[in-house]
């Protein structure tokens, strides 16, 4: 790189004294032996390639070579007159700065053009667009059959979900879009302060939106009212409120207390009432498919893995006073000795070398004690979290998805059948939260020690310190990484097609085996790739905007 920079500056100085051929040759070709070889090789390859392209696409090749020559001439004229127009300067600096770059430009230009023409021929010139004419005998030989995308739009959107439910999907879609719109409008600077109440309502709706969407998309069964459930939920909320108040994370207010405790029973009653009215009858969740399933899985995983990841990260980073060595070692050694009482019998009945070695399993207890003592300093909270995260991170996602599906029946009493999306979401959430935990931990570690010390010195307790000082800063730092994780979760949700779900990618199996669209795979892959690309691209550009807004990096 720097060689180029140097050579351009030299060229400029030389051009001010008139063009110097010797200097030009030295800079570009004869400067060193490897440069000469490089330029020569490049020239040969480019020439070869251009000739090859001329045979396949003569017109295109002629146009590109002509444009290339015109560009060179323009730059040469500019050099000769010692004055560049804007365009010729741009050409000189970006495309034609040295002999090797001139050659590379032609080579890459031809490459791009031929790829473009190939894509154009396949995608448009030789393609058919009629949704009715997609049967195998009507498919063009060297072109795409785009009709399939329109023809199979229902399958692509919602899979095999029955048409009687489509109004619920639409409502859900409009609900989410409406929420986005409202949020956007109410966060405009003009309205920000006036609409405080509205904004609180919107935030509450966002909190409830998973439940609302669940009601739309999965439905509520008609079930008898569960009083104990309603009361237990209220009690749990009361306990959480009490804990937060006791640790002074939230101030005590009667209104707040009542609102918190009442939330669960009220919501449950509404839920029960909806079930009772049978407006939203339960949908067989296995019928979810297409883009709908992809979005459901991706957003559930995203929503669930953030808090779970936060808990895991805080647990891993926790500095609770560890169990001291004088407890760990006696307990560990005692357990080991107790374990060894089984060894003689195991050894006597062992059938091969592996089993003989396994007879000495109590050594593992010592190893674990050592691990707890040395690696985690007796901190079981951090140890358990670390082990969980590392275990999950070491296996591929697909293992967890398969495990979810294959092991789910183990967790229920015999005969209970469980719809496939749920175990997949659980497995995927575990996977995603382990990565999320590492991302957030990165943010926690980026907070300077002084912030912790200042909070301690001011008398904050641990919960307050995390809530008011550390987490707000840490989360802000890792927003780009979290959005990256979201994009990853969105993209990787396509893996559920391997375990037999008919998500946006998996629905392809249904479509391309239908006699009407037999064998149309590549068109669908291109279309799906495009959809995923747009989704990810939008998310990442939104994250860049968010980053700029929050001023990440400016402290």
């Amino acid at each position: 790189m720097t060689t180029h920079i140097e050579s351009t500056t030299q060229q400029e100085t030389s051009s001010s004294r008139g063009f110097n051929w010797q200097l030009f040759l030295q800079d570009n070709i004869t400067g060193s032996w490897y440069q000469a070889i490089l330029v020569l090789a490049l020239a040969i390859i480019t020439a070869n390639y251009a000739v090859g392209q001329y045979e396949t696409y003569p017109v295109m090749t002629i146009i590109i070579v002509a444009a290339w020559l015109v560009g060179i001439v323009m730059v040469m004229i500019g050099e000769g007159r010692r004055h560049h127009t804007n365009f010729s300067r741009w050409l000189k600096e970006n495309l034609l700065s040295s002999v090797s770059n001139i050659l590379l430009t032609l080579l890459v230009g031809l490459l791009i053009a031929s790829a473009f023409i190939g894509a154009l021929q396949w995608g448009i010139l030789n393609a058919t667009f009629d949704p009715a004419a997609t049967a195998p005998e009507l498919q063009p030989e060297d072109g795409a059959t785009w009709g399939v995308i329109v023809g199979a739009r229902k399958l692509l959107a919602t899979g095999v979900l029955g048409p009687e439910y489509s109004w619920r999907v639409w409502t859900a879609l409009f609900f989410i879009l409406g929420m986005w719109l409202l949020t956007y409008i109410s966060s405009r600077p003009v309205l920000k302060d006036k609409l405080r109440v509205v904004r609180n309502v919107i935030n509450g709706l966002w909190l409830l939106s998973p439940v609302i969407l669940y009601i739309f998309l999965a439905g509520v069964a008609n079930a008898p009212y569960n009083f104990t459930g309603a009361l237990t939920g209220g009690a749990v909320l009361l306990a959480i409120y009490a804990l937060l108040w006791w640790q002074k994370v939230i101030p005590f207010r009667w209104t707040g207390l009542i609102a918190t405790v009442a939330t669960w029973p009220v919501l449950y009653t509404i839920w029960w009432a909806i079930g009772n009215s049978e407006t939203f009858t339960p949908i067989n969740v296995d019928e979810w498919g297409g883009l709908l399933l992809t979005l459901i899985i991706a957003s559930s995983v995203i929503v669930l893995s953030l808090p779970l990841g936060m808990v895991l990260a805080l647990a891993r980073q926790s500095d609770v006073f560890g169990i001291p060595a004088w407890i760990i070692w006696p307990a560990g050694i005692g357990a080991t000795i107790w374990g060894f009482t089984s060894t003689p019998e195991l050894l006597a009945t062992s059938r091969n070398l592996v089993e003989q070695l396994l007879s000495f399993w109590p050594i593992m207890i010592l190893a674990i004690a050592y691990l707890i003592h040395r690696m985690f300093k007796g901190n079981m909270v951090s140890g358990a979290s670390t082990m969980f995260i590392e275990l999950i991170r070491s296996v591929p996602l697909i293992t967890l998805l398969f495990m979810g599906i294959n092991m789910a029946p183990f967790f229920f009493s015999a005969g209970t059948s469980i719809a496939k999306p749920w175990p997949v979401i659980v497995g995927y959430t575990l996977f995603s939260s382990a990565y999320m935990a590492e991302t957030i931990r990165g943010g926690l570690q980026a907070i300077p020690n002084g912030q912790y010390e200042a909070s301690d010195a001011l008398g904050f307790n641990t919960l307050q310190k995390m809530r008011f000082i550390i987490l707000p800063q840490a989360l802000r730092i890792v927003i780009p990484a979290i959005v990256g994780q979201f994009i990853g979760a969105f993209k990787s949700s396509s893996l559920v097609s391997i375990v037999g779900l008919f998500d946006f990618l998996g629905i392809n199996r249904v479509i391309s085996s239908n006699p009407q669209w037999l064998g149309l795979r590549v068109e669908l892959y291109v279309f799906m790739g495009l959809v995923y690309f747009l989704g990810s691209f939008l998310m990442s550009s939104y994250s860049r905007r968010l980053e700029a807004q929050l001023g990440v990096g400016e402290r």
């Binding site: 590379l104 006073f321 169990i323 293992t399 183990f410 229920f412 993209k491 893996l495 590549v522 790739g529």
Partner: protein, 542 residues
Amino acid sequence: MTQSPASPSAEPQTAPLWRTVLGYLFDVRVLGVLGQIGFIVVVVFGVKAIGVNFAENAQKLGESQFICRDGTFSYRCAYDFMESESGFDISDTMIDHTNTDPYWRSFAVGVLNTLKVGIFGVILTVFVGTFAGIARLSENWLISKLALWYVELMRNTPLLIQIFFIYFGVILTAPNLDEAIQPLGLPFFLSQRGLNIPSIQFTSSAAIWLAFLVLGIIQFQVLGVILSRREERTGQPSNRFSTGIIAFIIIAALGWFVSGAVSETQGLMVTKGSRIREVNDIENMMLQRTGLNHLDELDSLTEDEIKDFALQVCVLEDSASETNFTSQLRKMGIPYRVRRSDRPDQATERYADEKCDVFAATKSILAAERATLENASGHLIIPIKENPVVWSIPTREGLNMVGGSRMKPEFTALLLALVLFYGGTLAEIVRAGILSVSKGQSEAARALGLNEGQRLQLIVLPQALRVIIPPGIGVALSLAKDTSLGIAIGFPDMYAASYTIMNQSGRVLQMFVMIMLVYMLISLGFSVVLNWYNEKIKLVER
């Protein structure tokens, strides 16, 4: 306003017993231990609550599955089923596998396939990623934009779609083998049946040459130490690296000739009547057969005539002897046709039927085979020159490809997709690494009078690598894990093999334990490397 406890004396008085006990309860150490005990209790009860059905079901399952050979139930027999016959075939194997092999062998085939994709994938990704990362920084607008779009495309579409696209859209729509695509005239052939690439084959003298190479590497290290000592003593800079490389090349070249000369394992079986006593006699034989004065005149003959006159060579399928001998024949300009047989006795039969002029193989095989011939004394075994390592290059022969090695379509698609995808990821890491070396560093290096090579080698690369390598190892680990996606297009990696075993034997728990263990070992390996590297960096920092 908070009042401090109104104790007039600064010395706290001895507290009553109950206060001391209460005080211990508020001791952070006691609280910590109590909290952790509480945590363990919660975890245990939580697991128990979720796992009560699990334990019951697993117990039931275990009783039907943990069966020893004598039919009794025992936990130690959980993996006894691995000994039973697998009953399925695997399409792409590195070690022999038939459907009568036990399950563990199928599993091993899968593990080897996973490693194969992983290792080749990582190596190729390093090249692609480095290349694309540097291209991102190119001052050529076209190249940097092309690299940018490549990276964006890879980053924003799911890997699985890319795998499907490459498998269904590129590999399976490629032409048949006889019209295979050959890019730029290089010996690579892409067809529906996969990718044929050149491969290297080792003759038996390769061991000797490898010993020389090891010697060369040792020499490189030793010379480095000696030269650096001398540098320190005399203060005269010496070009350690170049000197070492030159010495290495000399030793390697020496080894090449020595191993060829010392080892004489390759041989050729000919009839006494052919009057071939050494390899060069073949030329005379050909001249006699064609009636030409010189082999250069072969051009005057028609293709069919050449085919008739060609030397008929019998060899064993996939043997290094073929590659070794035919490369010599090509050098001598002798036209030849090869007949390949699976087993030595088949080749011998052909030779005995006079379908071939010569039989090329290792001397030991030839000696054993000559003994089986009726007229053993009527045949000679003559030595031929051998190179320790020979290139086997794929060539078209009718509807087939011979030589080289063939990558199955599934393997090709998976490898290609993984390399392209992670190449994009690595490109961004490489770019960030190079950009992280501040301009000041380069300027300082130039101010010190270092030349370009020294600047890259001593200043820029070490600093960029320090930024690149830790996330780079993460990329390698992700790639290794994502080889499991091969199951989507039917590549028999460890995951796919385990899945088939699972379906056939019903041993779900056991197979998941195996899968997790193997992946954990792989991750552990990577993290050991990463930690080792981080430690090394730390030392340098001090």
